[in-house]
Amino acid sequence: MTITRKVVKFLCSVQQRERFNIALETHYARLYRLAFAWTHQSCLAQDLVQETMLKALENQGDLDNFDQFGAWLSKIMHNKFVDNLRYNRRWEWADEAEVDDCLSEACTESKLIQSQTEDALHNAMSKLSFEHRQAISLSDIQGFSYQEISDITSTPIGTVMSRISRGREKLRFLLDKSYSEQRKVVPLRGR
């Protein structure tokens, strides 16, 4: 009986790991888009996703419910991002405003991408404070509920509500500003 139990346990763990790897692959694109929305730099987003996935592998035993896989991964990524910025000073956290300026400064790679696409929305998003950007991206890109966002970011639900509302209002303002600047017509010379 002991051996049979061991074999069954072993088979279950192999099956569980396979399931875990499939879930990781399924969530990869969504996770990358979220990381990109937070960092607006392709290289940083890649690092963040890879670190998140490694951490998830290390702690896969902590996952109770596969239905919560997306929220669980997002929470790991949130913790990684905040740790990297605030504590390890890996990405040189100074204060919220400075970090947002720093994050909106593109690296060479993303400068190239940006020059090709010039996406007004991404530019406007990168100018929001991280808290606003994070709340909006978790809600609009990932489709999490306010309660789930509150759990992921360890923030009261009222704060989540306020961040989403204020963040979107600021985003609208920035987009309107950007569109009105784009509408300014450069007069033709030599008429």
Binding site: I3, K6, Y32, Q50, E58, D140
Partner: protein
């Protein structure tokens, strides 16, 4: 008395976060209040715009990760099935202690334990010292069959700078053990160069790929991963 709908309530309505009576109240008001209706439409449009815009982001190809922490092996299904049948057959034909020995030896792969990947991403002196100690310990314990790759990224790449105080110890290890390989993250170096920080890497350090790619590669090959 006119009811005032706050901004946060409008956003919560669009996000489907209000209760049924609150939803009903807003919907009834929208029938008569054109500005409220316009506001709700604008918020909904913005929400959709955010979602659509990030859907267009170019996602780099997925690189599967393999967890080798527990078994060190990624067994194919057929191998697992064969192992299961083999153990059952053995269980009915041979005595118990032998079976137990077989099972315990098959769940403790020997080869994978001979390959270690040490990953350091910090320039914290305590972590640097711990990483070097761990490397030395593994190399001494493992003998010639042992293979150790030492990978650094972020601030960790400073360990491989020629001016690092640990240089002597590191070079000592390299001289003693030819089964030790050092890697510095290509991306971390490029990023540091972008900030005008000059690194003079030890000549023995390889730096042809990003650290995380190297980590993933090793994990796929069945190496044990140690994060310092």
């Amino acid at each position: 008395m006119s009811v005032v709908i706050e901004k946060y309530q409008m956003h919560a309505y669009v996000d489907g976060e209000l209760s049924s009576p609150e939803n009903l109240e807003i919907e009834q008001l929208m029938e008569t209040d054109e500005s409220l209706r316009e506001e709700i439409i604008q918020i909904s449009t913005l929400k959709r715009h955010v979602k659509d815009s990030y859907q267009l982001v170019n996602v780099p190809p997925y690189q599967p990760l393999v967890d080798n922490k527990k078994t060190g092996w990624q067994l194919p299904k057929s191998a697992v099935a064969a192992l299961f049948i083999g153990i059952l057959l053995g269980f009915f034909s041979v005595n118990m202690p032998f079976n137990q020995a077989l099972l315990s030896s098959s769940s403790q792969p020997q080869m994978a334990e001979k390959k270690y990947l040490i990953h350091l991403d910090s320039s914290n002196p305590k972590k640097l010292a711990a990483a070097l100690d761990q490397t030395e310990k593994l190399l001494v314990k493992g003998g010639s069959g042992m293979q150790v790759d030492f990978i650094t990224n972020y601030e960790g790449v400073k360990l491989f700078d020629v001016n690092n105080p640990n240089r002597e110890k590191l070079e000592g290890l390299l001289n003693r053990f030819d089964n030790l390989t050092l890697y510095a993250c290509k991306r971390a170096l490029a990023r540091a160069m972008g900030k005008d920080v000059k690194f003079h890497l030890l000549p023995q350090v390889k730096h042809d790929k990003p650290a995380l790619d190297a980590v993933v590669e090793r994990l796929n090959e069945g190496w044990k991963y140690i994060k310092i």
